[in-house]
Symmetry: C2
Subunit: 400 residues, 2 copies
């Protein structure tokens, strides 16, 4: 079906600013070519001319499922098992609340300290709302397996740690979680489009993720949710919105969830944003995720090698073993905040996470070996400059 | 502060298709001029060039509050009491779940049969999730006051009925609800930008609404939520997302809600969609809602008068008293479905709601007296044609 014949990188599919080496696609992917034109066309022709008729004429109504199936191809989800909408935090909430209903009597949501805070917050909010003795138990990433017991209703883990890039083995952990009788919920925020993922293969009940990072859907692009198809009909939607109803336009008095994944839809989808994402996903046509992964590992290895050779004050905060790491590399550095500012002002865009983490994402679609070498050159210059010792930085906290 | 000097209509602020009389702005507002250009600019300059830096450089982070304050001006909400995000169904859920926590011991969510189904569904979903004996009680719109008692935790009402345009008196009902010790939640989906609203004046605890109807933000534009400022700190967010945290970028392990309305934020906001809305709201510069209301009433009265005079088979389904009606007029007609199809194919766009309601929205920003007269002419032609008796319609269910 797929024509896998594309050599990476495919920089020409993106509108990258001149002089920028973009190592922050793990936070917000760049603008793919064609998206601006497609969005303008959608606004002019569909919204502007078709007006309300766009829901049918342009199939805005079918878009969340159609785009979901395209995202599904990138995470190993069968057609019709993924739907788009809302934000990742909302999708986490939907999955968590449904998971608790699937395991009555079990009171623990298990997570790890490498999870993104919003996932933990959503669990805390749900627990406080339910007020029925549920608790969130957060352990170290390596301790998940031994924390499993018959109190655990659901394990909620982000596959790739947003700070360190540390990566869980989805297959192994899912099996452990399910052997303990719990439900598995994976957050793929830093996985989808970054590493090969096989949600169907690992057998997890739920997977969620966002599309503004490695999937380049633009700031605030809609999130996705996967539900394993054999349990969809048992999933009770806490967020019982009309577009998850089996017959939204019958305007019935009582909620009846759709038979399929569409029960995870809630309200009116953000059509403009969904259109930007749908166009952005065309970047992936002809791309093999295993080729992306191989290139990503090569770029990350090169970066680690060069940084460790030339910038000994930085200490690797990511796993050294590539098989344990997503598509990013983090270094701890005392003056990381200042150094990252200086890097950014020199056109090397990564980001900083407190207290001392300098984070660099490597997305082989638009980052090449030359970019990696040049980024290390500039990092080296910045370190030699020691701008954080300058009186100006000490006075203002700003490095330029 | 405001320069109220604009005469209605202001059709030149919209990109309306040639030959269309658009009477469905109560479902999806048309494309305001400038939105396409602004969105293209945002994509090129902000997403494309600034990339991740857009969150600060272009203040994407502050946008939900900034846009909320602009929407607030149209509904009588003070600066800093409204925030944008998600969908209306999600905002209903946030308000409802918080309201139940504010009235422990009370087990009833009171609503009326004129409420939009999604609001009722969200209540049903919340109740099923909580599984603590809560119930949704739905009464006729005229029976709300007498249904109030000390079991009612919250009254959730849509001010303007989506089918009939029947309008509640927010001031009076809020006072009745609060006198009974319950919390008042208003859905302003068909009110914001349609009729003058004074959320602060009526004293309600919560108000929510969407922005793709009379506020012309585009399909799937973000929703808004208002919380009365004196209770904000007591409001427990069920959807405890990181952007509602008091310090989102501290990445703390425990959720601490923001002190202000920002606690109602959840996940990453849809920046493209938010930008379209922000630009669309400029349409309202210099517009006085009381002038909009006066024109809306005049247009609706003219439409009712002309339809009743020329099309006696149609029966008014909206209140005859303008003070009891929003900015739409509905007629019941046995062949309403076919008649609406025929109208639309002739360029008069309204919509149909089962079983027999033909719905026409009158938005004085871009609808004038001539449009109303022409719409009735075409409606009259359609009725004379009796296309629903044609064998073709009987065979296909389609009228052209």
């Amino acid at each position: 079906m797929k024509d896998i014949s594309v050599t990476l990188p495919i920089k020409d599919r993106f509108e990258l600013p001149e002089g920028v080496i973009y190592l922050d696609g793990n936070s917000l992917g760049p603008l793919p070519k064609g998206v601006r034109t497609r969005v303008a066309e959608m606004m002019t022709q569909e919204w502007g001319r078709h007006l309300i008729r766009g829901w049918n004429a342009d199939d805005w109504m079918g878009q969340p499922l159609r785009v979901g199936s395209r995202v599904g191809q990138l995470i190993g989800a069968p057609e019709g098992t993924v739907v788009m909408g809302d934000t990742l935090s909302i999708k986490v909430y939907q999955a968590l609340s449904a998971a608790l209903k699937l395991r009555p009597g079990r009171k623990v949501i298990l997570s790890d300290s490498g999870n993104f805070p919003s996932d933990l917050y959503m669990a805390q909010g749900l627990i406080a709302q339910l007020d029925q003795g549920y608790q969130l138990r957060v352990v170290a990433p390596d301790d998940v397996a031994q924390a499993l017991n018959d109190e655990v209703a659901v394990a909620m883990l982000t596959q790739v740690d947003y700070r360190t890039g540390r990566m869980h083995d989805m297959q192994m952990i899912t099996a452990q979680v399910q052997a303990a009788g719990a439900v598995m919920l994976w957050d793929l925020a830093h996985s989808a489009g970054a590493v090969p993922v096989d949600v169907a293969g690992c057998g997890c009940e739920f997977a969620v993720g966002c599309t503004y990072k490695y999937l380049n859907g633009g700031p605030g692009a809609p999130a996705f949710i996967y539900v394993r198809p054999d349990i969809t009909e048992q999933v009770q939607p806490a967020l019982a919105g009309w577009l998850g109803h089996d017959a939204p336009f019958a305007f019935e008095a009582t909620y009846r969830p759709a038979q399929d994944i569409e029960r995870m839809r809630v309200g009116t989808p953000p059509v403009i944003q969904m259109t930007a994402l749908e166009e952005a996903l065309k970047v992936w046509d002809g791309i093999d995720m295993s080729a992306v992964r191989a290139r990503s590992i090569a770029l990350c290895e090169l970066f680690i090698e060069e940084v460790e050779r030339r910038c000994p004050d930085l200490h690797l905060a990511s796993p050294r073993d590539a098989s344990m790491r997503g598509s990013q590399v983090s270094f701890a550095f005392e003056h990381g905040y200042a150094a990252m500012q200086a890097l950014i002002s020199r056109g090397v865009i990564g980001d900083f996470r407190a207290p001392d983490i300098m984070r660099f994402g490597f997305t082989p679609l638009y980052v090449d070996e030359q970019d990696v070498r040049r980024a290390v050159d500039i990092l080296h210059e910045v370190l030699v400059g020691q701008l954080w010792d300058a009186p100006e930085f000490k006075a203002t906290g700003r490095v330029t």
